[in-house]
Amino acid sequence: MFLKDYISDVYKGFTSLLKGMRKTGYYFTHSKEIITEQYPDNRATLKLADRFKGEVIMPHDQNNEHTCTGCTACELACPNGTIKIITKFDITPEGKKKKAIDAFIYRLEMCTLCNLCIAACPSDAIKMSPNFEHSVFDRSKLTKILNKPGSKIKEGIE
């Protein structure tokens, strides 16, 4: 009885090992199963999810106009002080003073990409961009001013 158990032990152990080897052998011989993505080589064909949260950007249209009113809702919504808005007062042609942004400072190095600023924005002035290649040699380059120089607010946005 003991001998029988002993032999069946050896047999079972042996077959279980062979089963595993069959599986790995299958993958060894089937090169189409390889899943490696050769990242820097496939940059041209890289398909990112359109919602991927890579960084915050401020879209500008062809007239170099954005829709940010400088309401600082995003600044308040941000959990770690990533966004700082510096406002100025523009003089409209009618001679009225109008609040506008001077600089929309965005610190990518502090950003956790939580999307709360975009959710808080009432005028859809900022959005997430799927760009993820952020590495730079100098950390100060990660502090960005999102509004382009000379841009102004789009007509009709309050």
């Binding site: 152990g13 069959r22 999810a49 919602r51 941000c78 956790t112 939580c114 709360l116 997430m128």
Partner: protein, 378 residues
């Protein structure tokens, strides 16, 4: 109940000479992160394990005291980063409970599906890492291949792969991706095909079985006393699934089994997790075709203020019971917040169950406790 003198002996008895004190971690291949174990050895046999925590302590509880109820959710993704969706759900549920926000059905169902996907992803990673702890490298890659499909689904819908921050008080941050259902179905199909590979490579393997069976045995009494939850406690025969005890989101309308094993050893913990993945697939299959139409977020005020009082919300993460305890003074920020993390309690049992076994057993035991260090340190 324990005898006071026994406990004191437990923690101070170092025994006669000849012991070797080895620092495992904070940089060690098997501690998965920055856990620091001071292991006292007698030859190969473990005499005492003393965890030293805090290498990734960020004082999340203190941080949350200065964050609003919308903001503090993102921090919780960084606790147990493998079940960040579930952590976020816990916080959102708590805020909803505190403010009586009505959550739309669509949001509830999507949350449940995402939570289960997160659970599968977490267990997949765990299987890979566990096999690697025991010296088998290859299952890690096979497990990650399936996990990659889940992270792709997450990326499509939530915009992030690990720290989603997709769940907000009242529902979801934005609606699910149009391809969500087809992608999830494709995942279920592939998962069912490939799950047998683990059977061949890991579960059935005689070496794996002999490494885990009878190793790190945790009795039901100790599991309860040490506050173990999740698969660790369920492998010891303790029923503790919060999804059954206090159903949240859409768990009250789906059929699934709570997996309970009685052996309490490392192999039982392994089996519980593997079977749990199949139950998660079952839950997703029931819900994926029945996502109700409608809003994805309920009506909430701009500024969230919890009612004065104390609130406690439990959810079942991949590692066990996550409790969020908030003391609110009626302000926009929590007065005191406490995260009862599953890993913290599960870690405390390590010394108890690994004592007297070999170094190799420590890897099996630690692996099956499924420790995520940021979750323990918070």
């Amino acid at each position: 109940m324990y005898n006071q003198t026994d406990i004191i002996k437990d923690t101070t008895d170092l025994g006669p000479d000849g012991e070797l004190v080895v620092n495992m971690g904070p940089q060690h291949p098997a501690t998965h992160g920055v856990l620091h174990l001071v292991v006292t050895l007698n030859g190969e046999t473990i005499k005492k394990i003393e965890p030293h925590l805090g290498y990734i302590h960020r004082s999340i509880e203190k941080m949350c005291e200065s964050l609003t109820y919308r903001q503090f959710i993102y921090v919780t993704s960084r606790m147990d980063y493998l079940s960040s969706h579930i952590n976020n759900t816990a916080c959102a549920l708590l805020v909803e409970k505190g403010m009586q926000i009505e959550v739309p059905e669509r949001a509830k169902v999507v949350r449940t599906i995402l939570n289960e996907l997160t659970r599968i992803a977490s267990h997949e990673l765990w299987i890979g890492a566990m096999a690697m702890d025991l010296g088998a490298f290859t299952p890690f890659f096979y497990a990650f291949r399936e996990r990659e499909m889940i992270t792709d689904i997450m990326e499509d819908t939530c915009g992030a792969r690990l720290t989603m921050n997709y769940i907000v008080p009242g529902g979801l941050m934005y609606d699910i991706h149009p391809d969500f259902q087809t992608k999830v179905k494709a995942f279920i199909k592939q998962f069912k095909e490939k799950v047998t590979e683990y059977e061949d490579l890991v579960t059935g393997n005689v070496i794996f079985q002999s490494r885990t069976k009878g190793v790190g045995v945790l009795t039901a009494k100790d599991a309860i006393s040490y506050g173990c939850t999740g698969p660790v406690a369920r492998a010891s025969g303790v029923s503790c699934d919060i999804r059954k005890i206090a159903p949240y989101d859409a768990y009250d309308r789906v059929q699934f089994d709570e997996i309970i094993e009685t052996a309490g050893d490392s192999f039982a913990r392994y089996i519980v997790r593997v079977k749990e993945m199949n139950q998660s697939i079952r839950i997703i299959e029931q819900l994926i075709d029945n996502i109700p139409e409608g809003d994805f977020v309920g009506k909430t005020k701009n500024v969230l203020k919890l009612n004065k009082g104390e609130f406690y919300q439990r959810v079942e993460t991949a590692r066990g019971e996550l409790g969020v305890y908030i003391v609110s003074e009626g302000a926009t920020t929590p007065y005191r917040i406490k995260f009862r993390s599953p890993g913290f309690s599960n870690l405390s049992v390590l010394d108890h169950i690994a004592k007297g076994s070999k170094i190799g057993d420590l890897m099996a035991t630690m692996g099956t406790l499924d420790l995520v260090i940021p979750d323990i340190d918070r």
